[in-house]
Symmetry: C2
Subunit: 315 residues, 2 copies
Amino acid sequence: MNHIPSLTDILATHEKIKPYIIHTPVLSSEKINELAGCEVFFKCENLQKIGAFKARGGMNAVLSLSPEEQQKGITTHSSGNHAQAIALAAKAVHTKAYIVMPRNAPEIKKSGVKYLNGEIIECEPTLEARETTVQQVIDRTGATFIHPFNNYDVIAGQATAAVELINEVNTLQVIMAPVGGGGLLSGTALATHYLLPDAEVIAGEPEGAADAILSFKSGKIEKAPYIKTIADGLLTNLGDKTFEIIRAYVKDIITVSEEEIVAAMKLVWEQLKIVIEPSSAVPFAALLKQKERFAGKQVGIILTGGNVDLGSLPF
Amino acid sequence: MNHIPSLTDILATHEKIKPYIIHTPVLSSEKINELAGCEVFFKCENLQKIGAFKARGGMNAVLSLSPEEQQKGITTHSSGNHAQAIALAAKAVHTKAYIVMPRNAPEIKKSGVKYLNGEIIECEPTLEARETTVQQVIDRTGATFIHPFNNYDVIAGQATAAVELINEVNTLQVIMAPVGGGGLLSGTALATHYLLPDAEVIAGEPEGAADAILSFKSGKIEKAPYIKTIADGLLTNLGDKTFEIIRAYVKDIITVSEEEIVAAMKLVWEQLKIVIEPSSAVPFAALLKQKERFAGKQVGIILTGGNVDLGSLPF
């Protein structure tokens, strides 16, 4: 779609992708509530297909193409969860996914794409090489490029996680998500604005990739002063489409340190008995950092994914 | 109750404990199905309160006492999940839990009981010391002793996990559970016998605690030839009550090696993105070991718990 998704768009998106995604559970823990001083409801997108919420946006973007476009295939460049989301969606509509990945991408990410029948095209590990290689794929195949976040169909897809969360707990006073490129955060902010207009949307961001908070304050898209964080899903800058929505509907962004991310991650593993990746733990870390702000409230947190290498855990 | 639980007993138990337990989700993974050669539905009791199915049996046993009995308190000896289950249940009915634990029980288990307001009474790490100490508690307080598995109220409680699983997937052809003392296995076997009489119940047991398979073959309760397994929830022998039910309604027991347990555990963490303890992985390891037997079938597996020390993982 070529406009900010309306409530009708988001609900129609939800119906459209439902057969292809998992309606993930919402979990909570009395011990976590006690530690946090508020009631926390975790929407478990780590239990989503491909282990991340990205399945929602990728699926919607691919299902929104015409049959002719679908037939020519889909392409993207990504070394992360979006690559698998596009491969999954392409497989679902029986077409090809051409995934441009940097030569040095982890083997586990490559094998995830291959498992979903995605074709990997390797390139040098620079943004320029990625974009040039994607353009070559488009020129050769006519495939459609799907941006990982700066795309309204993707944003509408990511919004459906918050739709399910709000349907399940319609008394939430705060909804939290991490911010990287802003696809999930902008979708979450839209869904919340439409369905729970009195609730605040607050984002968590790593101090070591603090571009969104700078942009939020200055009013224009900024880069992070430095990049150094374990939350490898949150390294990207905002896009113009996601930023516009975030400026309008997000209340605040809270940054957290590496230690705070790892501590929050460990607490979720121990108490909820689920595997989450570091990026997922960022909003919960933000909540724990500013407890007084959330005291006694009902807070929903979107846990974004669970793709971690069990061989190199930070605890 | 003083008889093998009937279907009516089990369904009434389910209604009784519902307000106190979590209706845990059933998860599956296309990749696991492909690897296993069958459709596997995992009932996630690791996401249960106290991180284990034991919350069900403990809750039912305590709720089944008279108000007078409840008031005098509850006691048990356990260094594992049953201790926390009893503390949780006692707290729910606003009475005291006296938990006898060996002096050398892990600090994390002790703190779990303390967190639930359970009173810990330490003893020497022998079965004799445990039983003597429990008797002293009873003499002093009038508390009721609740056995971890050889108790029909406990068995009826554990049966409710299979009830929920069958309600959600009523086409299962096989249901699997691990076997330690046999509380969960006997409850699962009863529920399956009543609700899905054509389905087979098959247990998994560690080779390093292989008492149940010996008992199953000889027809009398046997001890394991040796005890050495990472599946620390499955060390106990069967009781007369659990054994009678298991003999009648369990189709088979499959033993698995330590390597098979760890590999199955890792696969669940990686693909389902959940934290399970080694004991939980035993039936899935049994399935993977005898794939041909389950080929093309719909198999339910009860994942029993998720209480592991993240600091000492076997992978």
